[in-house]
């Protein structure tokens, strides 16, 4: 048993390591003279969405459009474009959806404050429930007349059965 659980934990560890390798794969080797630009490139392709796969960013997607957009991002950085200019380039073509961190504006308001609203609602419901419970003592612990009669009957039967000296 010990042997088996060790095998399981070992293979789990191996799986974790392997998925780590997959997640960190790089599609193209990019060379930057300036390490700061390498960092900017990484940040940008991690924050821009691939519209073909929708739930992947440019860094993780092997779609051909994602490869093209990584190339463009790389070229624009080498051209000396700022992060804002590169993001504007993408938004002009693909809309806010291309950003994993959408800007705060009327159409995205619910996206930003929705979770907060739900949290406040949840806390309010919880507090209300707790207050109500502590205000009114538990109502149903008193037995009805029927239940009391049944309880007595059960107790009596029990006594009768557990008394070995009693004979009928």
């Amino acid at each position: 048993m010990i042997y088996r659980s060790r095998v399981i934990s070992l293979s789990a560890a191996l799986m974790l390591v392997l998925t780590g390798v997959v997640a960190a794969q790089v599609f193209e080797a990019r060379e930057f003279k300036d390490p700061e630009n390498a960092q900017r490139y990484q940040t940008l392709i991690n924050e821009l969405r691939c519209l073909v796969c929708q739930n992947q960013n440019l860094a993780d997607s092997n779609a051909s459009l994602a490869a093209d957009l990584r190339q463009l991002t790389y070229d624009m950085i080498l051209d000396g474009k700022s992060d804002e200019e590169i993001i504007e380039f993408m938004v002009e073509r693909y809309g806010d959806f291309v950003l994993y961190r959408p800007p705060l504006k009327p159409t995205t308001l619910m996206l930003w404050i929705g979770p907060l609203l739900l949290l406040v609602l949840g806390i309010w419901l919880l507090l209300r429930q707790l207050r109500r419970r502590s205000a009114s003592p538990v109502e149903n612990d008193a037995l009805s007349a029927d239940e009391r009669a049944r309880l007595e009957r059960l107790l009596r039967d029990d006594e009768a059965r557990s008394d070995p000296l009693r004979s009928d």
């Binding site: 073909v52 459009l65 938004v91 002009e92 073509r93 809309g95 419901l125």
Partner: protein, 177 residues
């Protein structure tokens, strides 16, 4: 009964919200280019490497710009619909052949029919990026001033053409008169 009212209410609300969510297609991302002039491009055409095709060809009358490729499977399904539209003279069609092989693109048009006035040959997909193309086939309706009126993502079938796109084309043509 009353203590079931709140969970039931929340449940019904969720069902309605999720139900509405199911009817929406997450692949239809609204294009920020709607209402704006078509971005500038200059390409050779599938038929003739000497011929130029640019945004200027798309103004002067209402037209459709259809993004297609021979590797795109839904395009094959859509193609006969486009051929029908051109044959009936319902709209002027231009093509943007996106990241394709020139010989295969020519063979496709020869075999399946050519509904396009001309098809720009976008070998590296750069014109496609400027148009915000992300799911071929896509079709833009462009008005006489060269402004993008509408973008349809995915293949056009007869029903979509009759009900959604053709009325918009007719409306835009109506305005010119």
């Amino acid at each position: 009964m009353r203590r079931f009212a709140t969970p039931l209410g929340i449940f019904i609300l969720l069902v309605v919200l999720l139900g509405v969510g199911l009817t929406l297609d997450p692949r239809r991302v609204p294009s920020p280019l709607i209402g704006k002039p078509i971005p500038a491009f200059e390409l050779s055409t599938v038929r003739d490497p000497e011929q130029r095709f640019s945004q200027d060809d798309l103004s002067g009358r209402v037209s459709l710009l259809n993004v297609w490729a021979t590797w795109c499977i839904p395009c094959r399904e859509e193609h006969p619909v486009l051929v029908g539209i051109a044959r009936r003279g319902e709209a002027v069609l231009y093509g943007l052949n996106y990241k394709d092989d020139l010989n295969e693109a020519r063979a496709w048009l020869d075999k399946l029919g050519d509904p396009y006035e001309m098809s720009g040959f976008d070998r590296d997909g750069r014109a496609g990026i400027d148009l915000g193309v992300y799911g071929v086939p896509e079709t833009f309706i462009i008005d006489a001033e060269g402004k993008i009126l509408y973008k349809h993502i995915g293949p056009i079938n007869d029903k979509i053409w009759r009900e959604d796109l053709y009325p918009l084309v007719q409306q835009a043509e109506e305005k010119l008169k």
